[in-house]
């Protein structure tokens, strides 16, 4: 069996908090604290969770936008977290990113043609000027923008169109994995649907793997294969799309799903309303990190941290309730 495209083992990223006189390091934010998962070729894995759960930090660590504190990131059998800047180049071609804000992630001074040509040139993917031009034209067709868009600059486009340019730029490097960091969150409903459909089409066409980072659970359910739910820097549950959305096991997943308002008036819902707010990742709670808000908390949760364990085909849960009899 071939190895998965991406493997993340016990990934940790702690950011220093500076404060006081001379900006001494006074504390650490445990943004990501031991996260492991795999992404297969052509698969969509979604990272979901609320603000501050560390989902974006995981995405950025995989892109090597900063050095990680601990753990390993393995791309196609090769460790990439300790690569030298030179060694990173080829990895950067294979892993691309689409950011949330289409207004700040495109260089306003460059024409769309140059934005798309840059990665092709950088990675030496075209042998001649004619081939470069052909590739750029093909990219703009792929994301369904008119050819005359190539001569214009980013400010001339709407949010949805800019996101298409961002996707075309990611595709230009002919990647195997695209990290979509809240790639559709800033878009209006009708435009969001266009971009979601486009991403799904591209995945099918090019066999792309997607790491889809989002807080929008309905969109995630619509387009993902597997889901990892994060809370305060940890994965609390990971399973296939249908497993998560039809029969969530972790109390946090249950609460998260039940909290999403359904666009159906009069729908009978019994939302599990969690009390309080997410605790600070600077000083995460002892034991299970969710115990301060969990409706099913018992003594063991306060002292002992539950491990992420496989409980049935492809489903992983980190909860002490799973160890109690009568849970299945």
């Amino acid at each position: 069996m071939s190895s998965p495209l991406l493997q993340v083992n016990d990934l940790k990223k702690h950011f220093p908090v500076r404060g006081g006189v001379f900006s001494r390091k006074s504390n650490w934010v445990y943004a990501v604290d031991g996260v492991s998962f795999e992404v297969e070729r052509g698969e969509t894995l979604s990272l979901v969770g609320e603000s501050g759960c560390g989902k974006s930090t995981v995405g950025r660590a995989i892109l090597r936008l900063f050095d990680i504190t601990g753990g390993q990131v393995v791309l196609d059998g090769q460790r990439i977290d300790d690569l030298s800047p030179g060694g990173l180049r080829s990895m950067r071609r294979r892993v691309q990113v689409v950011f949330q804000d289409p207004f700040s992630s495109l260089n306003p001074r460059m024409r769309v043609r140059d934005i798309l040509a840059e990665p092709i040139r950088n990675f030496g993917l075209a042998k001649s000027a004619a081939e470069l031009e052909a590739k750029v034209a093909a990219l703009i067709d792929t994301v369904r923008l008119p050819r005359d868009a190539l001569g214009r600059r980013p400010h001339e486009f709407s949010g949805g169109q800019r996101q298409r340019i961002g996707i075309a730029r990611a595709l230009a490097a002919e990647p195997e994995l695209i990290v979509c960091d809240e790639a559709v969150s800033a878009l209006d409903v009708s435009v969001k649907a266009q971009i979601v459909n486009l991403l799904q089409d591209l995945q099918r066409e090019f066999g792309l793997a997607l790491l889809f980072i989002s807080h929008d659970l309905a969109i995630v359910e619509h387009m993902t294969h597997r889901v990892a739910v994060m809370y305060l820097g940890k994965i609390v549950e990971m399973a296939g799309r249908q497993q998560i959305f039809t029969a969530p096991r972790h109390p946090y997943t249950k609460a998260l799903l039940s909290a999403v308002p359904v666009p159906e008036p009069g729908a009978i819902r019994n939302p599990i309303i969690l009390k309080g707010d997410v605790p600070s990742p600077i000083n995460p709670p002892s034991g299970c990190r969710f115990h301060t808000r969990c409706p099913f908390v018992f003594d063991r949760c306060r002292t002992e941290e539950p491990e992420l364990r496989s409980i049935e085909g492809g489903r992983w849960v980190a909860c002490h309730l799973e160890a109690l009899p009568g849970q299945n």
Binding site: S158, V189, S190, F245, P263, P265, G266, I273
Partner: protein
């Protein structure tokens, strides 16, 4: 008589490129104790409508025309002084950004108390006591301690609760909530929506809810008005609107939202797309505002703007081709 009657509201802005018709001839009403949702995408004029109701539009470059009758009085005819007596007292507002709409250098108690001291003439002690009462009402733990804290010491959800406490302190008759939960996480959103429903039952204020989230609309609205490019395109009671939307834009909007539970229905279907994007509001749009993106559009639509017509019981839509309910049905 309705609590609020808005007629032919036009809010235009003068810009270097011409006049931007952000709101272009919108009429609606809100009954006492009712929740009306105004839905639409960015740039449809829903927020400008809400700001116009409070007369919070800077003039110039803005200009508000039409009439906004609140309890029979036209708010657009009042002096700034008279208007100030209404803001925060009879009509109050919750904004989207709880981070930027609270004053960072005043304690939350002082900010809640300010409206009470100004409108109800309470003294400092009485205002603080009432502020503590309000914080308790909106479910903030340890209100006696929190009342002396500053906004930065509170989380996003708590700040939004403070905003709600402030808005409700004077028992307003009308509460305008502009995207009140958009900046919040879902579990916190669920808390705030629950709180708003609860308070509405207890306080009995009418609510104008501005949002783009159809899930939130289904949850708390009674009547819905859909806006597109500065105009009202459809209005109906909430169940009716979701069951049988008449305007092609509303239909498109509802089809474009994935619903939780899609994995139960098996194969992933494509989301319905509305092709193209919202038209520019600079320069007058001839004909139907949606014609450029509508798959049903004909020459008639491109030339003649459709009026709002009754399409069913309490259901109006602005479309030449929207089906009417059969009289017998």
């Amino acid at each position: 008589m309705a609590l609020l009657e808005v007629e032919n509201l036009q809010t235009h802005f003068r810009t270097p490129e011409g006049i931007n018709r952000a709101v272009d001839g919108v009429s609606f009403h809100v009954n006492e104790g009712e929740t009306l949702a105004i839905v639409g995408e960015s740039g449809c004029g829903k927020s400008v409508t809400s700001m116009s109701l409070m007369r919070l539009i800077a003039e110039p470059p803005g200009k508000i025309a039409g009439s906004i009758r609140f309890q029979g009085k036209d708010l657009l005819q009042l002096s700034e002084r008279e208007m100030r007596a209404i803001r925060g007292n009879d009509i109050s507002m919750i904004f989207q950004e709880p981070m930027t709409s609270l004053n960072p250098v005043l304690t939350v108690g002082r900010q809640i108390g300010e409206t009470l001291r100004m409108h109800q003439g309470l003294d400092k002690q009485a205002a603080e006591a009432r502020a503590i009462e309000m914080l308790t009402l909106v479910g903030i733990p340890e209100p006696v301690r929190r009342v002396r804290e500053y906004p930065h010491q509170l989380s996003g959800g708590m700040r939004q609760r403070v905003m709600i406490a402030m808005a409700l302190a004077c028992n307003p008759k009308l509460l305008i909530a502009d995207e009140p939960t958009t900046a919040l996480d879902v579990t916190i959103q669920a808390q705030i929506l629950q709180l708003m429903l609860d308070l509405k039952r207890r306080v009995g204020a009418a609510i104008v809810l501005i949002t783009h989230d159809l899930g939130v609309v289904a949850e708390i609205a009674e009547r819905v008005m859909v806006m597109y490019a500065g105009r009202k395109v459809e209005e109906a009671p909430v169940a009716e609107l979701f069951r049988s939307p008449r305007h092609p834009y509303t239909q498109g909007l509802l089809g474009a939202v994935p619903k939780l539970g899609s994995s139960l229905t098996g194969a992933a279907r494509r989301l319905a797309e509305i092709p193209g994007q919202v038209p520019s509001l600079k320069g007058r749009i001839e004909g139907c505002v949606f014609a450029g993106r509508c798959t049903l559009a004909t020459d008639l639509c491109r030339q003649v703007a459709p009026g709002l017509e009754e399409k069913g019981p309490r259901h109006i839509a602005a479309c030449h081709y929207a089906r009417k309910e059969a009289a017998a049905a």
